[in-house]
């Protein structure tokens, strides 16, 4: 088994009724890459189940991590985390995951976040913004734009907010139909089948496989 780590719930921010940020102070600094997740060990029915949650904060703040999540009806992971009181302890392993961005791409980069899919993209954009020489575009498909003002203020970042239902058409109009440039890099994240639909749309339009990175929840 991977080494078990612990955090103490230090702060809670509600973004509407069903979306919440949880900040945990860690037992020791955690080294991670923007986009990685931790595997939370959630007490459930006398045992522990594994639920992955992406780290929404920056690796430079290594003594605490922020998790952003929606309450899933009947979901044991989010239900337990939403009920955790300030000071409560979280056990986890990690960091894990390969949906990461270590430095600004050398081509125009497009980040597509659907809802709380903004979680890995937030630290990616902070990292990319610090060294970007090419445009960084964030298409944020949500009705609850958590972190909007913070991300819009990052140097080099252009943020566009759209309704979730319009995300496939918006991507097609901007980066498939509008021009023949296929040098862009894409980072897609969100819940459900829309993520592989976007992947297939972009790869089918001629973008290289490895130029389209994604994480589907």
């Amino acid at each position: 088994m991977a080494d078990e780590r612990h955090g103490r719930l230090e702060a809670v921010t509600d973004h509407g009724q069903e979306t919440r940020s949880l900040v945990f102070a860690l037992d020791a600094p955690l080294r991670f890459a923007p986009g990685q997740f931790v595997s939370c060990l959630i007490p459930h029915d006398g045992a522990r189940i594994v639920r992955p949650y992406t780290i929404a904060s920056n690796p430079e703040e290594s003594e605490r991590i922020e998790l952003l999540l929606d309450r899933v009806p009947g979901g044991p992971g989010s239900g337990w985390l939403f009920a955790l009181p300030l000071g409560g302890q979280l056990a986890f392993t990690g960091p894990w995951g390969v949906f990461t961005l270590e430095r600004a791409p050398d081509a125009e980069a497009v980040f597509v976040a659907i809802g709380t899919g903004i979680a890995p993209i937030r630290p990616m954009l902070h990292r990319a913004s610090s060294s970007a020489t090419r445009p960084l575009r964030l298409l944020y498909a949500t009705t609850n734009p958590v972190y909007r003002d913070e991300l819009a203020a990052l140097p080099g970042v252009t943020l566009e907010l759209i309704p979730p239902a319009g995300v496939v058409d918006a991507v097609r109009a901007r980066w498939v139909d509008a021009d023949a440039d296929r040098s862009r890099r894409f980072f897609l994240c969100g819940v459900g089948g829309v993520v592989p639909r976007l992947r297939d749309l972009l790869r089918g339009a001629g973008y290289e496989r490895r130029a389209v990175q994604y994480e589907r929840w």
Binding site: A2, A33, P34, S39, G94
Partner: protein, 123 residues
Amino acid sequence: MAKLTVRHERGEPEQLIEFDPRAAPFQHDGRPASILDVMLGHGAFLEHACGGSCACTTCHVVVREGAAALSPAEENEEDMLDRAVGLTPTSRLGCQAVVEDPDAEIVVVVPRHTVNLVSGTHG
């Protein structure tokens, strides 16, 4: 009955699991009758940091025998494997490779390393 032999590069003892894939799921993580499901449901540990949902590479295994008895890899799995340490032509993700033949005889090796990709330049 199907047979799954598990060998470990790190040197743990070899394990032989006999099972009926039609009786799956054997527990709650990974696709039913996947190598991960079979192993966890029979007391054999396999790392699965994302909970068995094809969102990481920690359940990477190398299939030595019986690959034809497994479900073919889909694009999500191929994309994940692309980032696995020690990728081989017969690499699979344990959470996605489903044992489809009830008489399958499969041999897998659990590699020494799982990906725990960390930036080396930022504390």
